[in-house]
Every structure is written in C-alpha cells, then in structure tokens.
C-alpha cells in the first residue's frame, strides 16, 4: 500500500492556523477540548495565526456551534452519518482529509483514550510527527517551532520535543493540565461544515455496544477536593476511612498506584503518572509515601495535606500541611473535628 511519508521537503510556510480536535460523546464536549481551546488561543496569538476547532460528528452541529463562544476563529464541523459513534478509522480518515486540505500548522488533541487512539493514525496518514501526552506547550521565539514538553521515565525527567521539518506539529495534551478557555457571550468566528469522503467499508470495526458503567462515576479531574489513600492504609479496608473523610469534605476518592496494583481499589481512582492528573483545591494524601509517579499527578493541587506514619516520607516535602501519625487515629479525629467546627457555626 502507499503509505504517507515524512521528510518530503514540504514548504513549512504553506501551513497555517492552530487546530484543536474536539472530543465529543453523544453530543457532549469533553472538558479537555475547552482546555485545549484555552491553550490553543495562546499559541495562535503568539504565532499570529488563527484558532480553529474541529468537531467530527453526525448530529453535533449545535454543540459545535457552541464552541464559537470560547474565542475561537473558526469551527470545522465534519459532518457524516458514519461519524455518529466513535470509530478509529472513521474519525482518523475524515480528520486527516481535512488536515490535508487545509494544512494547519499545529494540531492538538486531548490525551484521552480516544485522542491517543486516533492521533497516531492521523499523524500516520498525513505524514508528520506526534508528541504524546504533553503538559506544556510553548512557541520558540526564534523560528516559531512548537516546544512540546512532556514527562518521561515515570515523571523523573521532562523532555521538550520538537518536530522541525514536518507539518502540522501534532500533540496530544494531558487532560486537567491546561487552563480552560473562558465562555464569551459574543462570538466572532464562523462555523464551516465539511463533508468527508468517508465510505462505509473504510471502517473495519463495528461498535456492538456501549456499556454504561452503573458504578458511581469517579470524576477526579473536576473534583475540588480529593482524599487519596496509599500503601500506608495497610489493607483494602483502609479505604473505608478514606471514603468517610471524602464524604465529609464533599470530595472524591483517589488512590496511589500501589493500592490499585494490590487490587484494593479500581484503576479509575488512580492519581499519578499512569492514572489521572488532578488539580483540586485540596488534596489529602493518606498513607501515601509520595513516589515521583504519584507526585506527577497531583502536585498542581492548590493545597496538599499529607498524613503519614513515616516522618521521612517524601510526600512531606511537597505538602503544605503534614501530620506524622497513624491514619486510623488521625482520619477519625479529622472527621470529628469537622463535625465539631460545623456545629459551632450553628
């Protein structure tokens, strides 16, 4: 087959605009899209280029139009009945078609399980480099290269990646890291509908079923308060205490990788390098030693509280407030103190 190639000596000056590929599910836009729009605006401004958002779907025009309220110059709505549900090939083919036609300079996708599925296929089809899971994007002052910074080796090292000779410069961006764009009542951009030349036989997978999780949804990304448990809980039962405290402070329950690996709690709760990156107002780490992989996912929290029996635990170096003590003693005492403080108010 004829596959795309890189390093074909294309003229870099032929490429314009910063694009954000929106992620939507059943008509609802994923929060990472708004984060990317916020970041994309900054990049577009420093490149003196326009910002466009791409929304693939079958019946998502209204949602696509709403994105114009986020200070966006253009929304491309890729409209096709075959794009009703997500499919790797349907999405990758039609987005690639638009990219090849319009030639953007920068393309950003959310580093979600969907974004990370299609981005490499898009890069493969249009013939360019791709940088995964970025946590920082900047424009190089000199030659307007996109500097794509991302953690490597479990967060032990940060690497800044460039894509000097090929366009567009593509990145997937870690959810929860960039600041969301603000909503504006007025709009100045336009919506353009693009009909891709997608054919049914080009999609070689069939979506049989979407399984709705009947479990309470864990939403760590948007949580204002997270109470997390680590190996120091000693046993799966330790999460009962963590849950109780989380309930008391209206927070979500998080976990270190160790507890997930031990099967004490589902992966959905995992905070850190291989889990979710969070930036709550308050992060309470209970019995978490503070391995770098964990810190990578929560150090952006506004306030960090650490409770650990081991006074030497690295978590105490990154916390705002620390308590050296036994979880089993401290957590119930915290709950009690909250109840007490609450009753004073009445």
């Amino acid at each position: 087959m004829n596959r795309a190639k890189v390093n074909q000596g294309n003229n870099l000056a032929d490429y314009h605009d910063v694009w954000v590929i929106a992620e939507q599910n059943e008509g609802k836009i994923h929060p990472v899209t708004i984060e990317l729009v916020g970041e994309g605006r900054k990049l577009a401004d420093s490149l003196a280029k326009k910002l466009a958002v791409v929304v693939p779907g079958a019946d998502a025009e209204d949602e696509a139009r709403k994105l114009l309220h986020y200070n966006v110059d253009k929304v491309y709505y890729i409209k096709h009945p075959l794009l009703k549900d997500f499919s790797t090939e349907g999405y990758a083919l039609s987005i690639s078609e638009l990219i090849l036609e319009k030639q953007p300079e920068v393309v950003l996708l959310g580093a979600t399980s969907i974004g990370r599925d299609i981005a490499p296929r898009i890069a493969g089809k249009v013939g360019t480099g791709l940088t995964a899971d970025c946590t920082k994007l900047e424009v190089d002052g000199e030659d307007h290269k996109l500097l794509q910074t991302r953690p490597a080796f479990g967060g032990n090292l940060m690497a800044t990646i460039v894509c000097p000779k090929n366009r567009p410069q593509m990145s997937t961006v870690r959810p929860g890291v960039m600041e969301k764009a603000a909503y504006h009542q007025e709009i100045h951009g336009k919506l353009e509908i693009f009909i891709p030349s997608l054919k049914e036989e080009e999609i070689r997978t069939v979506l049989i079923e979407k399984v709705k999780s009947d479990k309470k949804k864990v939403n760590l990304i948007d949580a204002k308060v997270i109470v997390s448990g680590g190996r120091g809980l000693k046993a799966p039962e330790g999460f009962a205490l963590v849950r109780a405290l989380a309930e008391k402070v209206n927070g979500e329950v998080g976990s270190s990788r160790a507890c997930v690996d031990a099967g004490w709690i589902e992966h959905l709760h995992q905070v850190g390098q291989t889990g979710t990156t969070v930036r709550p107002d308050l992060y309470i780490a209970c019995g978490i030693s503070g391995a770098i992989q964990h810190l990578a996912g929560m150090s952006e929290a506004k306030y960090i509280v650490a409770i650990n029996k081991d006074p030497n635990a690295p978590i105490f170096k990154v916390c705002d407030y620390g308590i050296v003590g036994d979880i089993n003693e401290v957590i119930p005492a915290m709950i009690e103190a909250i109840d007490k403080n609450g009753s004073f108010e009445i």
Binding site: A262, K309, D310, N312
Partner: protein
C-alpha cells in the same frame, strides 16, 4: 571459576523475586499473625514450577537443579520465611522418592508433588528423638501385606496439610537404628491423625503439628528403599534439606540488610541521614560481608550437590553460617530501625523471629558443628 549465576538462573531469580513481591509479600504479615497455612500461595508456586524443581521433566517436574532450588527459596524467604519453609520442606519428599523410590512410587507421587499442587512432608522427629535421631520409637510392623504403624511424631512442618508423608519408623525394633525404615503414609489413612498444632515463635504459617499413628495400616509397597535403610535415607535427605534451610536463612538476611540500608538512607536524625553515622555504617559493613559469604557458601553447597560431589560438610557449613548470619543481620537491622524496628508495622521483628528457627531445625547449630568437625578431623 566463574562466580556468576548462569543467565537462566539469573532469570529464575528475577522471576522468583517478582513472584515473591507480588504473591508472597502482601500476605506475610497477616500469615504471621494468624498462623494460617499459605495454601493458595503453594498452589501458585506449583503452577510456576517452583515445587517441581529437582524433579525430572519426565516425572512432571521442572527439571533444573539444586542451585535453582536455592535461588527460589532465597527469594521467597526474603518476603516470607514461612512460605519459603513450606516450599523447601515440601521438596524433601520428592527428592527422597526420586533417589530411593521404586518406579511405581515415582510414577505415582512425583507428578502430583512436582506441579500437581499436592503438598508433602517429612516426619523424623519425635518427642524423645530430636537431634538424636536414633531414639525413634514409632514402629511399623509388617503384618501380611501391610505395615502397621504405631507412635507419635512431633514438630512436623506442614504435616497437617500434606497429602503424602514420609515417616521414619522401626520395622525391626530389635535392631535399633539398623531397623529404621522409610514409609509413605497418605493423608486420610485410617489410624493416622493430627495431634497438637504448635504455637510457634516464628515461621508461624508453616503449620507445625504432631502426627499420631494408632494401628495405621499402609500397604507394604509404601516402603521406600529397603527395610533398615531408614537412617541412611533420612541423613541423605537432611543433607539436601540443609541447603534449603541455609537458603531460607540467606533470604531473611538479604532482606534484613536491604531494609537496613533503605532505612539508613531515609531516616534523618541530628539533621543528617543515618548513613552519616560511622558506628551504624560499620554495622552495615559487617552485615553485608556476612551476607556475601553466606550466599557463596549456599551456592557452593548446591553446586557440589548437583554435580554429584560430596557436599555433606559444605551443606552443614552453609546451614550453620547462613543461619547465624540471619540472626546477626536481623538483630542489627532491627537495632538500626530503633523503636520502629520493634513494632509490627515494620517487618524486622517478624524476620528476627523467623530467623531463629534456622539455627534449630533440620539439625541445630550444635549438631552441624558435630557434622563439620567430624568431616574436618576425619
């Protein structure tokens, strides 16, 4: 000379370490507390082929050699000495059958013990026959086609859980030691029951029990080797078992050393990590040196055994030295941990208790000195 594990042994070590971290370590503290036998872990060890090391592949075993066995027992012992003891003691039965058993016995028992997940045990000790194995009183008198067993065995590790046991009993009481024979008894045989379950100081999960034989009848085909060869078989088995105990001790010592090193780097006192204190550094130097020596003694004994050379002396030396090292290192490691070391939140107090048995079972340190002196003096 090449003081290096082969690539295959190094891989086995890595795999055993992963297994120990994933399957053994999370249970260790709990097993120590409850004394519950690690049945599920044993079955997982069977699946990996750990229980079949030393049994030839044609009998359903894993093949491999004594060094492989020592390496695995060491790695398991790092995380849980009781689980390692279970594995190590289990391996005595198949090794005896392999060396002394009939073709029928091999065909029947080896596959089940190798990777079939069936636990086996070895029963020599009696209330009045500890170090003095010659004082065994349990009798197995031939009546027709059956041996009739009467007597009591004590301190039998895994005896209450084992499917198959090898029992040392007098088939000809008049001949004393020369009338001692090895006989297989299967779990559930009428007249065979479990007596007292011991409450132990350490290796608490390795269920240690009393076995009671009251007119217990087993077919005469269950005799292993010839009548009267029991003492010889027992001593041969114990020679090999000593390497297993030495490997357990080595594992405990290695882990205790690692724990000490880790703690000294983390723990800050007087504004500096403990590694800044020379007095403690000297402890580490002594501990590390002894661990290194013990390791090579264990490997050497295993190597001699698998290459068919005499190894009684070296196995005894390895067992003596490794077990003393385990006590020395766990004690100092606990000391370095200070108050934390004395608490159950840290593994040191358990490891210290677990280490003690290695100086006692499968022959005390004192008996080992007798064996060594006899070998050296000729």
């Amino acid at each position: 000379m090449n003081f290096k594990l082969s690539d295959a042994h190094a891989m086995l070590q890595k795999v055993a370490r992963e297994f120990a971290e994933k399957e053994v370590a999370p249970l260790a503290a709990e097993l120590d507390l409850t004394g519950e036998f690690p049945r599920e872990t044993f079955e997982k060890m069977a699946k990996c082929g750990f229980t079949g090391i030393g049994t030839p592949i044609e009998y359903g075993g894993s093949g491999a050699d004594d060094l492989a066995k020592a390496v695995v027992v060491t790695e398991i012992a790092r995380k849980c000495a009781a689980t390692a003891a279970t594995l190590s003691i289990h391996s005595i039965f198949p090794s005896v059958i392999m060396k002394f058993g009939t073709e029928e016995q091999k065909a029947k028992y080896l596959p089940l013990c190798a990777d079939g997940g069936k636990l086996s045990a070895f029963a020599l000790t009696e209330p009045n026959a500890g170090s003095d194995a010659g004082a065994v009183k349990t009798m197995a008198i031939l009546e027709g086609d059956e041996y009739v067993l009467n007597g009591t065995k004590c301190f039998i590790s895994g005896g209450g859980q084992a499917e198959y046991l090898i029992i040392f009993a007098l088939t000809d009481p008049a001949k004393g030691l020369k009338g001692l024979s090895a006989i297989i008894v299967e779990r559930g045989t009428p007249g065979f029951s479990i007596g007292k379950i011991e409450e132990k100081m350490g290796i608490r999960a390795s269920e240690t029990v009393e076995l009671i034989f009251d007119n217990c009848r087993v077919p005469k085909e269950n005799l292993v080797g010839k009548e009267g060869k029991g003492f010889n078989i027992a001593m041969t088995a114990l020679d090999g078992a000593r390497i297993g105990v030495a490997a357990q001790a080595l594992g405990i010592a290695e882990e205790a050393l690692d724990e000490a090193v880790k703690y000294m780097k983390e723990r800050v006192q007087f504004g500096k990590p403990l590694t800044a204190l020379q007095g403690l550094n000297w402890y580490i130097a002594e501990m590390a040196t002894k661990v290194e020596a013990a390791k090579w003694m264990v490997y050497n004994a295993a190597f001699l055994k698998q290459s068919g050379q005499p190894f009684t002396k070296e196995a005894a030396m390895a067992k003596l030295y490794a077990s003393e090292t385990a006590m020395f290192v766990t004690n100092l490691s606990l000391q370095i941990h200070g108050g934390y070391g004395y608490m159950k939140d840290y593994p040191l107090e358990r490891m210290l208790r677990d280490a003690k048995i290695t100086e006692i079972y499968e022959g005390t340190s004192e008996i080992h000195k007798v064996v060594i002196a006899r070998a050296v003096l000729g």
